[in-house]
Symmetry: C2
Subunit: 275 residues, 2 copies
Amino acid sequence: MKTVAFQGETGAYSERAAREFFGAAWQVMPCRTFRDVFVALHEGHVQAAVLPIENSLAGSVHQNYDLLLQYHLHITGEVILRISHHVMVLPGVKWENVQRVYSHPQALEQCREFLERRPELEIVPSYDTAGSAKLIAEHGWHDAAAIASAQAAEHYGLEVLHRSVESNHKNYTRFLILKKEAVKPEAHAKTSIVFSTPHTPGALFKALAVFALRDINLLKIESRPLHGSPWHYTFYLDFEGTPSQSHCQKALDHLSEISDLLRVLGAYEKGKVIE
Amino acid sequence: MKTVAFQGETGAYSERAAREFFGAAWQVMPCRTFRDVFVALHEGHVQAAVLPIENSLAGSVHQNYDLLLQYHLHITGEVILRISHHVMVLPGVKWENVQRVYSHPQALEQCREFLERRPELEIVPSYDTAGSAKLIAEHGWHDAAAIASAQAAEHYGLEVLHRSVESNHKNYTRFLILKKEAVKPEAHAKTSIVFSTPHTPGALFKALAVFALRDINLLKIESRPLHGSPWHYTFYLDFEGTPSQSHCQKALDHLSEISDLLRVLGAYEKGKVIE
């Protein structure tokens, strides 16, 4: 049976992304850190990995871009998952009896309006959403609730009392699918690259011209501040198309003329949005 | 006495940024959430606020950009702080006797190489770096250490056993200084804006042309994925100069012709890097 690695406790949003992408034919392997995920794939203990790369509220995960540059793996797909937070308790516990609510600080902030309707509740930040569910199940607490995913509720045998309690429902995380071998996507494909330019006025403008002059659509652009290396920037860019199309390959050739570094991280089919 | 609000426990990196910027003449006020920081300033309980906006390893904090759009406050300055993690214990405790290490998962990941030299250590993720130091001081644990800032060690009466144990020393966080009134900076000034464009090929290229055509240097560019609103993007952009310079104001006028939304978040002097 094939295995896909993810970071976090069982019931984490990354696990859901893995299951949505790979289905029941694959098993999942939780890892403690993001680096552990890369090592597991690099050393062949698993056949794929799932990695969160950006969230619509929290931003891009630069450290995961660093790991992508460090380990020569390939992006072969993506999944966009709507993050929906639920309030869960031990079976039979009533909301009126809950005195403490556990979750990751980011999830607590995202559910602030809901929590403020009961200001007497004690809010306890913890390191992980799924970990909060685990905590309540393991301790058998009848006066506490966790805010986590539906998968965490199911895995730890908790009952969901209130669904989708986040204030902003436009909360999506984009996950990358990594493998050791690159794929050659057919339709609706996109390409992710990293490049850096000399920091001169207009350098980025020139870099984007290589795409604009060929009518290539940009899907993401982000400058990475490197405060240790003044006047040098790294850029993350996703564009529509793949290097197997000649106008895209020409744009990449053109870009390499004017950049200090250029790496294609992968070409892959655009991901579905899982609501 | 004037007061500046920050998010986190006493000893948090945000508190250090506030003290570096404002000095001893101001007092600091810890807040539970980022929104609490905005509310404190908006309602006049404090005269300034300090807000982390991007980290060189973890990325931009999109949620804080959302709060900047929601509350009509002004960016009036910035501080760039090198994040340095230290190992701290109760006075007299020896490193050989430490069996558990507490910190925020991100800090633990950043200090991974150091921690792996003693693989028998139990690593315990917690919700906050300064909160981990507080935990050890409050419980009087003689077999545990925290990884946190020098300020946290000082505040909770802990002893630093190992300094700067992070693997990547290029770990910087950029903090914004917010006030109710805008400032008119003199020298080395920059401007932060938010804008959105219709998602047509080349729309971003046209937007950047308004700066390139006037030789205005870009300092940051980032697209914000809005998965709930397909084909619409929001961009964060910092450029060199201020609207009080006519070529910059003309660039902004030009940009407003081709964008759906344009907001100037503030013009301010470029921040010093605090090592």
